[in-house]
């Protein structure tokens, strides 16, 4: 009797937990279609106008309310975000995978040190890493811009890729690799034909994770972005600081959709293998 009661209470808590997690997100999505330009919380009809207006098209709502944010700046931020995310994903995936291979296929003295070193960027508070990079770049005369953001993101994304690929390598034995070597294949052939196909789901998973974190990073980018190299999250942060506008709902919904697609893709890949 008593057991059933506890169980029901737990289920109720669990459902409320999920509601707490998703209600704010769902609300933003719903509000992005609300045509009320004055009070967001009062529904006055379905519209796509906020989406058109962030793309710079004149809409009925926009003419009335003059809620225009500079579309050029927004598109520039999107462009910067994509450049940064693609570059950091490429660099950190290659370096992270190489490090994982080194730590899981060889035994050497500084191994534990390396493991510790690789976990450090993930636990380091964002603000500490952000200002350390700022002081470093300015101190050595490196111009703040897309390049400095790419470097900054890689310092912690290498670790994320490393962790994901390591998890894949930990559950794998190297008999096939040894067989391939015994049969006379050289290192490169063994890597391309045997190792890579086996670890590929981990590498793709790590790359997706790196891409998504790079696209979404705010704190570190905030400190090391130059004037012309604003990324999307920094741009929205700036908008938000100046006041709440209905267009932010639409931008947020688009970002949400992208994040959800990539995360789901990652999960799908992990479960298939």
């Amino acid at each position: 009797m008593k057991r059933g009661w506890v169980k029901r209470l737990l289920s109720l808590h669990g459902v409320l937990f999920l509601v707490f997690v998703y209600a704010p997100i769902v609300m933003v999505v719903v509000l992005s279609f609300n045509s009320n330009p004055i009070n967001m919380m009062i529904w006055s009809g379905f519209t796509f106008d906020w989406y058109w207006s962030i793309l710079g098209y004149p809409t009925q709502l926009n003419e009335q309310t003059l809620y225009v944010e500079s579309t050029d700046q927004l598109l520039g931020a999107v462009k910067n975000s994509l450049i940064v995310a693609v570059s950091t994903t490429t660099i950190s995936t290659i370096l992270g995978t190489m490090t994982a291979l080194a730590l899981y296929r060889y035994r050497f003295r500084a191994q534990r040190f390396y493991q510790g070193l690789l976990y450090m960027p993930m636990v380091m508070p964002d603000i500490v890493l952000g200002i350390a990079l700022l002081v470093f770049f300015v101190g050595f005369g490196v111009a703040l811009g897309v390049m400095s953001i790419i470097i900054g993101h890689c310092t912690f994304l290498i670790s994320y890729v490393f962790v994901v690929v390591s998890a894949r390598l930990a559950g794998m034995d190297d008999t096939l690799e040894q067989a391939s070597a015994d049969l006379g294949a050289n290192e490169w052939v063994t890597f391309r034909r045997i190792t890579l196909p086996q670890i590929l789901p981990g590498v793709i998973g790590g790359a997706l994770l790196a891409f998504i974190i790079s696209m979404d990073d705010l704190v570190i980018t905030y400190f090391i972005a130059g004037v012309d190299s604003t990324t999307l999250p920094v741009f929205i942060y700036g908008m938000l600081r100046r006041g709440v506008k209905p267009e932010i709902n639409a931008i947020a919904t688009l970002m949400l959709t992208l994040s959800f697609i990539i995360a789901t893709l990652g999960l799908y890949l992990r479960r298939r293998h």
Binding site: G14, Y22, P24, I127, L218, L240
Partner: protein, 294 residues
Amino acid sequence: MARRGDTRRLAFLLGPASLFLGVFFIGPLAVMVVYSFLEPGLYGGVEWNFYHWNYGRILGWADGEWEEFDAVYAQIFLRSARLALTNVAITLIICYPAAIWVSGLSARWRTMVVFLITLPFFVSLVVRLFAWVLILRPSGFLNSSLMGLGLISEPIDIIFTETAVLIGMAYILLPFMFLPLYASIEKLDRSLVEASSDLGASPLQTFFRVTLPLTLPGIAAGSVLVFIPSLGNFIVPDILGGAKVLMIGNLVEQQFLSARNWPFGSALSVMIMAVMFVLIVLYLRSMGRQEARQ
């Protein structure tokens, strides 16, 4: 498994990342520590003199001749620590029952729900906080619904209070508490719990004597993972706390972007890093003891 030797291949695999992290991770942290001991110059520059008053200003040995000691810095530090601890408690209370619930679900549902709980982690921080601005501000969702229901007649002030900051921090850091807790509850040997209740222990006794002690590693890991990012947070207090709830992260940001006292900002940042190191060392040590006992 391990092939001894072959330093050439190892160097090829490890070299690039070592170089990169050495220059762009260790390097900046070292430069920041050096900066924290330099004298602040005019207009945001630095003078290359050894200058420990940056720390004196915070910890209390500045004498007023060189640098003013102001207790406000220590107070902000303590407030940040208090808020971070409160946040650990909140996320723990929310996530523990949730993790027990998830671990009792069927395998298919379990994967699904864990995925659903981790998914928001991949949504941009600024988007998630924006949602809470919409909920908590005076004309926001919460006040509109409460007034619509006739429960209150005037909007209540939630945004720009500590409560708002705590809600926001708990919201963004939930997965960091949930995942380690879930991992340790999942690993829990069910037969021990059953044995305890078969031997006549009440559900509460079983919980406090069996379940809780066995899941301590998860609680410790979750607490560290939530405390560290809470302590140095500046986005949440900035967006949801306004000027009223200043945390150490906001202070650091001000030193860099408006006050332009980089050495002082570096000193504050070094202190955040020191707290992090102490916590990590304590955590690793207690985990080591745990392993030794088993």
